[in-house]
Symmetry: C2
Subunit: 351 residues, 2 copies
Amino acid sequence: MPTRARTVTIKHVAAEAGVSLQTVSRVINDGPNVRDAVKERVREAITRLGYVPSIAARRMGGSRSYLLLALNDRDRTIEGWRSGDGTDWVDQMLLGGMLECAEHDYRMIFELVDTHSAHVEREISSALSALHPDGVILTPPHGDNPEITELLTSKGIPFARIGSTGEGPGFAISMDDSRAAAAATEHLLGLGHHRIGFITGSEEYALSAARLDGYRAAVRAGGAVERPDLVAPGDFTFASGLAATRRLLALPEPPTAILASSDQMALAALEVARGAGLDVPGDLSIVSFDDTPIVKFSAPSLTAIRQPIAAMTARAAELLIRATTGEAVGDEPSVLPFDLIVRGSTAPPRR
Amino acid sequence: MPTRARTVTIKHVAAEAGVSLQTVSRVINDGPNVRDAVKERVREAITRLGYVPSIAARRMGGSRSYLLLALNDRDRTIEGWRSGDGTDWVDQMLLGGMLECAEHDYRMIFELVDTHSAHVEREISSALSALHPDGVILTPPHGDNPEITELLTSKGIPFARIGSTGEGPGFAISMDDSRAAAAATEHLLGLGHHRIGFITGSEEYALSAARLDGYRAAVRAGGAVERPDLVAPGDFTFASGLAATRRLLALPEPPTAILASSDQMALAALEVARGAGLDVPGDLSIVSFDDTPIVKFSAPSLTAIRQPIAAMTARAAELLIRATTGEAVGDEPSVLPFDLIVRGSTAPPRR
DNA sequence: CTGTTAGCGCCTTCAC
DNA sequence: GTGAAGGCGCTAACAG
């Protein structure tokens, strides 16, 4: 009968290195007060035995949990997955978050929470009680939900708000949505457009207002037409994009370019334009506010603002881990750079 | 000064319900030997206090960890995320796996592992030691890597192999790749094609062989042309798809239809065809073997086999959880249904 | 610098 | 049916 493959614990390492259990603990936690020689001996024992501390036991010991919890909006996320519309928000989050966590020997656990639900608080409390994460990453619109931020604050759990710029507690991490919208608008102005339509995002997202502001500022600065009816309300969805675009194109003097606050709405604009017999970009230029995979594959492919989702999530993870480690971390908002990717959907207006 | 928001533990619940700590444990674990009245009382206390057991403490107590570990291929996954080519494998996995886990009060932790690396074993051992998951979900090609399956087996950790059909240990969960390839081929035969090209997947994946078999069987059964040069090697990548397609189209008697083992290769086939001045589907029909978002947005959109990734992952999670619970679970391979989605890239051949 | 002593929150085993 | 010990692997606090 083969030897039972028992788990290697700190005790085994201690015995192997001929030191106390506590010394081993000090070594793996980079604690002070261990002679280099001993440290070395312990390290060798660790390698030899292939010892890896149990995350659960570590937590129990009263230290960190080495876990970060990332919270996304349930409905929107599941809807995105179900529809298979190619949004890669989650992938980019994982890319940035997981890799950063891995660097620090942390794990990121991804979870879905319904912002609107009456029991947001209960849902999140449960997750916190069960997991005891060292930090929480909030993505839009959670970062702007006071129920959530207050809960976290009261529990004393560090958190980061992605896509959220408000002052408040927690690390605010965003790209400059206002500047991005302005940059997109300037791109259109530079091409010679004067009537530029704008489709807003859901009001629930703070960044929607920021984008609108940026658009307005650029329009004004560029001396283009400022008219309220050039701004049509949307909520990021394809359907809302259809409605908004129809509305814009039905104006007596319709815009020659449209800036949409999401990829789905931009795609919708493209569809409406096509249905109306308009050539894109000849008759109508379109700019998308997400550079998700699909906008590269539409015909024409869309000029788009690219959000640094991976970078924002990585930053969030980094800040949270540093905060937990006790490192001094400034709480100035992090504003990460965006990209304007010019593709085939924008060109000078015909008239 | 506000009351310090201490964590609610099983002790508090016990006190609140006026029972022993142990009785509470019995209730939350559906243990036997608790009077309904008491059980009720405890449940109420739990609700009132908002108690949720700590996953870490549970593990330490010697029971389950309520964690499932999902292992993906590192390079391929990161490459997919970086390129933003719209593959939604990971999303579909999360959709199926996380939701199923949530049902059972489990968590799925997603991790990347390099199959080729010399230290696969070490990497995985570390993750296991740190997390102590109750089960592991292996995605291609990990499920076919004996180093990994043997390690898991020797450690006695239940695991599921997605996209893997081999006998071996662990739950085999797959779609019928062979049947799917046959179905796609039959679809083309039905349209009147006689020379059907096939681009294989990487040999490292067991399913690549299965697909080839299905194609061959259907070609033979359909009385179509069986020729070795109608089969071109690929490795799932766009680049390999370009090469394979050029090779097929350069044949003296080129195929009138191509079945590609991945979306990227199908897209590559489309590009080569276009570059060669061929009309798709007029001159060349193309079928993709992944129904990722982008193949819906190509022009024309691609007819494709849709893998039930979410369903497979959900099944994996379910089986693993049941196995841990001690429920009897058969170990017959699970074969889940696929779909053939007919779109604009397939039509009868012109000649 | 290093070892010893208490727990962390829960579950298992054994009494009652 | 229920409760009382004991310990899981680790770390914090305190000795030496």
